[in-house]
Point group: C2
Chain length 334, copies 2
DNA sequence: ACCGGTCTCCAAAACGTTTTGGATTATACG
DNA sequence: CGTATAATCCAAAACGTTTTGGAGACCGGT
């Protein structure tokens, strides 16, 4: 009962009050001022539900976090949300966070969002090469943006770090230090980033004429620890390991310590993500970092454009450079 | 146009369809089944905005994250959100996350939520001893729950870890190992948890008849590093430092290394929060942990009760025990 | 004095749901 | 058989906003 009440105290129609507040040219400057003043004085706040019903939009943007228990590579997403939230707030959108562990129920969450019109736009993160979420969303009218890439065909906005180039560069850097046995600890190939990073490593190794050595395991420190132990026990143990993620690199650090190897003297280790934990590991982990502020900014901008009706085109596909974060876990080989 | 459409195809009134779907006793079992089947077949999803408008509730619960750039003690809040989100989803509520750096604009975010009826309930985290957010919310009808305690007077639901008892116990544990010079690195006293933890330390030291040694600094690793350097350079350097947070403890670890001290041989260090980074530090950080699953569960339950109309009473105030997480940064003194 | 145009303003419809207050019919009971 | 009761159903109002399609007043030009 609030536009109504405001209108009554001003002896104006609801229409006029509404249009005055929305800044239409339709209303005399004098009355506009009067309305503004009264709205301010009465602390008028438009009812969000009514506006949404009438306009048919929700003023909500959702991010579904593919989170399970005990994950801790999520500070990344929090930082992302922080900057995106600000962008969206500027435009009157609320950012809603849902947690949906990947699995059979994951799609239900997305369907609920889309079919129930619970959001005006979606942000998809942690992409897979074949990503059913993207495939589904492409078949709907729901605007969405993707952080990361996918092989799922179709035209949709995305922002991703150039993992291929970054891992090629990191490989060359290690080689320049004198390393000849450089191994790559790859994340499961179903994840797009894993494939790209691996490709970067492989391309660089080929160009350098060095023998590839790739082991693939789950992207957590336990699996990496086990995989690394195996690697180090092999016939030609590497002098440097390039890991797909920091979590894996932390597992490698642990495995090295368990085998009595000293990092970086006996083994150089490089990760990716710039996790806080890496800054405090022993030794501090050399890693790489996607500029999250820029990424979030771009994603927010793209999604707002899509919601505003802009069709997706290839200007909405950004691949941004990854920054190296050198620390103490890299050195020339013995 | 959906209840209407559904009703039309069924040759029923909107009223009947609505009541059938909501399970009122008002409608014949046969028609109810017919309606259910049709709703399923037509993929009917009630329009959230319309329902909210009519019911006057938003089905949204908000958590305002007091986040700034570069913070990384937030995994805690993410984990909390993850378990709370599940509880809320069960009851049809969406959990919305807003980021509002503490400061003059912080209250604006809260006012927007309350006055714009943008949420049915709020979760307040990172409490301060004098907390304007709580003071403000107590003056409104908005249900809210608090993670942490505050001196702000009034009756409101909260869940907090028993930091006082935990720090007293940690102090006694260090003394039992033989430490006599135990210092406490305290966080700013404006934060409730800082005061409680300090009180626990001081009580235990008094009971043990040992001399207190407290230094207060900001709750980040830089400040802790500086404060710790000072402490170690003093006349009677401690053999153990009990830190209010893990971030501070990580700063202490770094300060000790810089001064050539070995942890834990020369200096024992204990923190609180069980940050992931602590598990990978050198040495691994002994710390303490608030059971987040239990905390989130309680908070969600309380908030749902409050939203349901239950008045706040002292059964809605829980102080839960903090679990010790012993790792490698504690040892008897030389 | 009349006409077209520009300024202001407004009544009413619409968004999709829930809920109120019956209306109609069937059932039970005396 | 009449009537009270229960079982089903429904029309219409209401939630608070935006938007459509004018209406009335005033102006300048003829």
């Amino acid at each position: 009962m609030s536009l109504k009440l405001l209108a009554a105290t001003l002896n104006l129609s609801i229409t006029t009050v509404s249009r005055a507040l929305d800044g239409y040219g339709d209303v005399a400057p004098a009355t506009r001022d009067r309305v503004m003043a009264a709205a301010e004085a009465m602390q008028y706040r438009p009812n969000a539900a009514a506006r949404r019903l009438r306009r048919g939009s929700t003023e909500v943007v959702s991010l579904v976090l593919p989170t399970g228990p005990g994950r801790f590579d999520e500070p990344l997403y929090l930082e992302l949300m922080s900057v995106m939230g600000e962008r969206f707030a500027e435009r009157g959108y609320d950012l809603t966070l849902l947690a949906a562990p990947p699995g059979p129920d994951e799609m239900k969450t997305y369907r609920r969002l889309v079919e129930g019109r619970r959001a005006d736009g979606l942000i998809v993160v942690r992409t897979r090469r074949q990503d059913p979420r993207i495939a589904y969303l492409l078949g709907t009218k729901m605007p969405f943006v993707v952080m990361g890439r996918s092989d799922t065909p179709g035209l949709y906005p995305f922002v991703d770090g150039d993992g291929e180039a970054a891992f090629a560069a990191a490989t060359r850097d290690l080689a320049a230090l004198g390393h000849r046995h450089i191994a790559h600890l790859a994340a499961p190939a179903a994840l797009t980033y894993a494939t790209l990073r691996r490709a970067g490593y492989e391309r660089a190794m080929d160009e350098l004429g060095l023998p590839r050595q790739v082991v693939e395991c789950d992207a957590d420190e336990q699996a990496a620890r086990a995989a690394c132990s195996e690697l180090l026990a092999g016939a030609a143990p590497p002098t440097a390991i390039l890991c797909a993620t920091d979590r894996m690199a932390l597992g490698v650090l642990r495995a090295a310590r368990e085998r009595g190897l000293s990092v970086p003297a006996d083994l150089s280790v490089v990760g990716h993500d710039n996790l806080p934990a890496g800054a405090y590991s022993d030794p501090p982990l050399s890693t790489m970092e996607l500029p999250l502020a820029e990424t979030g900014d771009l994603l927010a901008r793209m999604l707002l454009a899509r919601i505003g009706g802009a069709p997706p085109d290839d200007t909405m596909q950004a691949i941004i450079p990854i920054r190296a974060v050198p620390r103490g876990s890299v050195a020339p080989p013995r």
